[in-house]
Amino acid sequence: MKRNVPLMVAIIAGYVMILAYFSPYTEGWGEKVMVWFDILAAIAFVLGGGNLLKVHLKKVSDRQAGWAYSVITVVAFLVMLIVGLGKIGVHPHEKYAHMAWSGNFSAIGSPFWWLYEYTFKPLQATIFAMLAFYVASAAFRAFRAKNFEAILLLGTAFIILLGRTAAGPYITGWFPDWIEGLEADKLSTYIMEVFNTAGNRAIMIGIALGTASVSLKILLGVDRSYLGSGEE
């Protein structure tokens, strides 16, 4: 029961989507399935929140390595949740002044907005910005012209790095007309439009074939890995 019902739901939804794609008479069925999918996706947030609490509270209670980070995660999660859901500090909407909860939870000046603006936003931007430091360090230590393929990769990286800034036209802009195409910005555009596009199309075709084969296995009930191991 625990495995058969989800299996049937997945198989029926899959066949309905195929029918809906090929037959205009069943298009409405496909829409219904997608609306249900969107509802389930919203409910998945609740499950995700519950799972996050379960995993991190267990880590804290077992005093596993790095449990202090789990405490921070749980506290941050609960603070955002309570402040947002409870609309703490939010003024009522001007149209519905008599209703205490009618204001927008993320209105400017509200505690939720403050948390977002001064904690979440800078923290996320910082994490993303740190990439530049690690990429630079990795490039210095690992980007070596060890063989022909590595030389090709290195050459392409140089051209793209130059071509994506004003330095490219500045350094190579003096090239005479007959080798104009070798200017860094033009060459980087050529690499992106020709070599990159060809390579990516090949990968995309491969992925599409793989997706079709996995989908078929799911529809036929052969692949049940998405149901999990069944163990708690």
Binding site: A136, L154, L162, P169, N196
Partner: protein, 287 residues
């Protein structure tokens, strides 16, 4: 000397990278930008629209990628305001809602206060479901969007009248930092209805190579990362900038300064690393 570089503590690299980003920002180094064909195509797509045409903005990004995508979002909204287009904002990313609010405040409310919410622009907000949302709203927008982000019923919003699907939009503008984003909009909206939906996009640098296969049929124009933003910004401000335009409309150009110096540092580090590699290899062969 060579030994110093061979055993270079990575904190020196971090320091150099920090300086290469901070110095151009503090000294406000700016460099000229020449619009590429793709940025020109994006500009032309918006220019081809007439007053009152509908544009759907899908802001599928978050604060982590705001550095790359924020300036193009600002320029796009400004361009549409100048063209007097009807703007519909939505997002497939939970924090995209805040990105929409930021742009409405920074551009529309600050510089185009005569535009009326619900008549000239509307914020439909975030919906969970990734590509599932796209699949529904291409045929029935009202099934998912019964209200806007503020909770006002869409039936009571004047500019939503007659809008039952996103096929009614004259242009779709997607700003994407990953999944779900431009790829999903192309696959589930544009590819399915190529005659009804026309789309241009802006994306992060790492995403751009993955989107080139869709150019130009499914994606007539693409703004790739901060360079794309700086190019588009130039096109928009050259035509609509007027006298003393606000500095926020030149953010892309401003952010290209640190990018240039950081790229140069990367090239230098790779060259130094390879010199060490070749010297060591030569010494190894000799010994």
């Amino acid at each position: 000397m060579l030994d110093f570089f061979r055993n270079l503590d990575r904190r020196w690299i971090f320091l150099l990278m920090g300086l290469s980003v901070a110095v151009p920002i503090l000294l406000q180094w700016q460099f000229p930008e020449t619009p590429s064909a793709l940025s020109q195509a994006v500009f032309d797509e918006v220019e081809a629209l007439n007053e009152g045409d509908r544009v759907l903005f899908a802001f599928d990004f978050d604060p982590g990628s705001e550095g790359e995508l924020g300036p193009m979002a600002t320029s796009w909204v400004r361009h549409c305001c100048e063209k007097k287009l009807k703007m519909y904002f939505m997002s497939l990313w939970p924090v995209g809602q805040q990105m929409i609010t930021d742009n409405i405040k920074r551009v529309i409310e600050a510089d185009f206060p005569h535009l009326v919410y619900g008549e000239d622009y509307v914020n439909l907000g975030y919906k969970a479901g990734n590509e599932g949302v796209i699949k529904v709203i291409i045929s029935d927008l009202r099934q998912l969007y019964t209200t806007d982000a503020e909770g006002t019923a869409t039936d009571n919003i004047p500019m939503m009248e007659g809008i039952d699907s996103i096929k009614k939009m004259d242009l779709l503008v997607n700003i994407s930092a990953g999944y779900p984003g431009t790829k999903e909009w192309v696959q589930f909206a544009v590819t399915r209805y190529p005659d009804d939906i026309r789309m241009v996009a802006g994306c992060t640098g790492v995403q751009a190579p993955l989107l080139y296969p869709y150019i130009p049929e499914q994606l007539p124009g693409l703004l790739a990362a901060i360079k794309g933003a700086a190019e588009y910004e130039k096109l928009v401000m050259d035509k609509y900038g007027g006298e003393n335009p606000d500095a926020k409309y030149f953010e892309g150009k401003r952010r290209m300064g640190p990018q240039l110096v950081a790229h140069m540092l990367m090239i230098l580090l790779i060259i130094v690393g390879n010199i060490i590699f070749f010297v060591d290899r030569k010494r190894g062969k000799r010994s």
